[in-house]
Symmetry: C2
Subunit: 212 residues, 2 copies
């Protein structure tokens, strides 16, 4: 693919996941073609922004007609790299970890959690959604030859760095970190932080009386 | 507070939650004063960006010395409106809902989940972390006079809109929506979407071979 593709801004990627969500909703409702106006409205976005974002993925729109919903979903999915399966492991089999292991949307979207790890002896050996929790020390040997690309960290913050080191040592290049803690990894490893509190902070900020 | 305060850009709010996370980490490690350089490095941000973001909250920095960590945490928390308690309710007592009810960080950060609701008769009456799951129909009467400001939606996507209508009907002005579904609410209600997949998409995009 073109160099243009590789330089899609991060903010566009973030918006694409919203477009995809809305497009899939439209698909379920039987919408076949949508123009940028109604798509923008459903996404609470700006029509020219959407048109601009979508140009990164080639020319889908037919002027005066709109976008074919199915084709657009397929093209955006392919561009994002989510038209394939991604094997993932999860470390930290607490409440959040268990919720993610059992989350039907993960698998549906091609993110297969194929291993669950924890260092707590009380959790090792437990089973969730068909996965047995294994001691984190065995991570590397357990995932050998399994083409695991993504590691999900759902440990308490104080364990996040050690777990990240295990993941890096096992050759994993993508980390989704739910622990509220920054982690240090080599430059060729990508970390995404899921910060549940920034949304709560934004809400609190929107609701707090600032004119006291 | 000043008009300046009310116009803090959303992207600054998002970054503040990272600064806060890093500052709290520093506080735990006993750091008393930090200059914008090391703070930026720990946040994987740009020092001039941090200085600019922090000016929204008044003048904390002492030129050539740095920021007092405790004071900065206090000021940012106050500005974000998270120096107080926020009563929340949660609707959707599935795996994710239960994980959030049991999440020790919620309460620690002042977001108290004081009610759990679900429309599934098999879940109604169950108890998690001291909360009994109540039928969603009783939402309004149950939260009357309890100063609930935030509703958390953790239902499957197909129930999200109905639940949002219940929350709005009960007078709630802030919604944290974990369901992968856009919802429609009146203009005076703020919705924050927690999209766990956009992070996975970003990872997939970073890891996918684009030069095929």
């Amino acid at each position: 693919m073109s160099a243009k593709h590789e330089h899609i801004p991060k903010i566009t990627i973030a918006r694409l996941s919203i477009y995809l969500q809305v497009l899939e909703q439209m698909q379920r409702e039987g919408v076949e073609v949508v123009s940028s106006g109604p798509l923008a409205k459903a996404c609470r976005a700006n029509a020219s922004q959407i048109r601009k974002d979508l140009t990164y993925f080639g020319e889908f729109g037919v002027r005066g007609v709109g976008y074919n919903v199915c084709e657009l979903i397929r093209a955006v999915s392919r561009s994002l790299g989510i038209d394939r399966e991604w094997n993932c492991v999860l470390i930290g089999a607490g409440n959040l970890g268990k919720a993610l292991i059992g989350h039907r949307e993960f698998e549906r979207r091609g993110f297969r959690i194929i291993g669950a790890f924890d260092c707590d002896p009380f959790k090792i050996g437990e089973e969730f959604a068909g996965l047995e929790v294994v001691c984190t020390r065995h991570l590397k040997e357990r995932i050998q030859d399994k083409n695991v690309r993504i590691g999900v960290i759902t440990t308490p913050p104080e364990h996040a760095q050690r777990v990240a080191d295990y993941l890096v040592g096992a050759g994993i290049k993508g980390i989704l970190n739910y622990a509220p803690m920054r982690i240090v990894v080599p430059a060729d490893v990508t970390v995404e932080y899921v910060d549940i509190f920034h949304h709560l902070y934004s809400l609190a900020f929107a609701l707090a009386p600032h004119k006291s």
